[in-house]
């Protein structure tokens, strides 16, 4: 639409470093690198509002997924059930502390941190320019994202369920459905979220008038003052 900064913007492809200009993109379009075909820019219809709505919903689904039991088991008149955190706790108790920490990180801390950080970022950039700490938070969210493995976890839970079904009666719990909803919402966030657009709305560390900046010297502001 009317986004002058968008036009004539030059980027370097993150995968092959080729310099290229991004043409004006219609909403919903994706620009690919001319040389290696990596995605270099995306344009969504509503880059802030939609991911914000999905992130709010994801936060709710995340809370339910972590508080309600994933599945229950009945055998010989006895009943047992487990939550996500309980899975990591049980691994810890059985002497697999490192595995327990990895599971806790990939199943709870990374997705939770990603959702909370992204929610704060999206709320903050609604009225640009957003303060610098928002950029710090966005970097943090980007660090968490590859370690958030909710979609891998749900397949793992399903396989565990089928394996155990051979031995005892199992029934899926509310937590399981919440995890499924969470997977869908995280995918929706991934599709609608545009990090470039968010970065454009964040105040620069070193404000400069031109589009292409000059790097700040490593000596830092303390040495200059």
């Amino acid at each position: 639409m009317n986004d002058p900064q968008r036009r004539g913007e030059t980027v370097a492809c993150p995968h092959c470093d080729l310099l290229q200009g991004i043409p004006p993109l219609p909403p919903g379009a994706t620009a690919r690198c001319a040389r290696c075909a990596s995605t270099i820019a995306t344009r969504s219809t509503d880059p802030i509002g939609r991911p914000l709505a999905f992130t709010f919903a994801a936060l709710f689904a995340f809370i339910v997924a972590n508080t309600e039991p994933l599945m229950g088991l009945s055998a010989a008149g006895r009943h047992a059930s487990t939550t996500i955190v309980n899975g990591a706790y049980e691994m810890w108790m059985q002497g697999q502390q490192i595995t327990a920490l990895i599971i806790a990180f990939c199943a709870v801390i990374a997705p939770g941190g990603y959702i909370v950080a992204l929610l704060t970022v999206l709320l903050a950039v609604r009225r640009p320019p957003a303060p610098r700490w928002v950029g710090e938070l966005l970097r943090w969210a980007a660090f968490m994202q590859p370690w958030s493995m909710v979609e891998v976890m749900i397949l793992g839970i399903l396989i565990a369920l089928i394996k155990i079904a051979e031995l005892a009666l199992v029934e899926p719990g509310i937590g399981m459905y919440a995890v499924a909803v969470l997977v869908v919402l995280l995918t929706a966030i991934g599709i609608t979220f545009d990090a470039d657009e968010v970065w454009r709305r964040i105040e620069w560390v070193d404000p400069q008038p031109s589009g292409v900046g000059v790097a700040r010297a490593t000596t830092g502001p303390e040495a200059r003052a």
Partner: protein
Amino acid sequence: MTVATAAQAGFVSCEACGLLSRPAGKSELGHCPRCGTELAWRRRQSIQRTWALVIAAAICYIPANVLPVLSTTALGSTDSDTIMGGVVFLYTSGSWPLALAVLVASVMIPLGKLMALTYLLITVQRGVPGSDRDRTRLYRLVEVIGRWSMLDVFVDTFTVALVQLQPLMSVKPGPGVVFFAAVVVLTMLAAMSFDPRLIWDAGSTREGNHG
């Protein structure tokens, strides 16, 4: 057609926010003016770090497959299962699609990742000619698919968490689980430390030598 990379044109792009900027100096590039991240032409010691992580992952891959990941105690007798044992169990119990999913995620993906990263490292280091585009595609595949090998760790965790009906039946994690989780984490870190731009840098040096 003249193609210029940002580095050739004297620009550096920020790894965190993607902003293109002129570096502050030749040796000290400085920090990104927009987000403050320290700038670098390429990821630091990319080849060495990736090699170290790939080798560590390859070492962990052996105990991950040889040692049991689960041991089931039912009615006084104990059974230990390795990753392949779990695949066979799923297959014989009639759910071959799940057996296939675990086989792909736990055996083929980690091995494929290790081979793909080794191939990329060797071809970049030795400047072997080939399709740079295909190699970049291979790198992207490794990056996207890597997380799925955590599947079996999740299966084991939730099996252990649920089947605790002492003294009737209980499941304990085996020593293989931690090695398996380590393979996944190390290969993910290896993929993150490898800089795909090096594939193209090697190609442009080759062209330069010939012309």
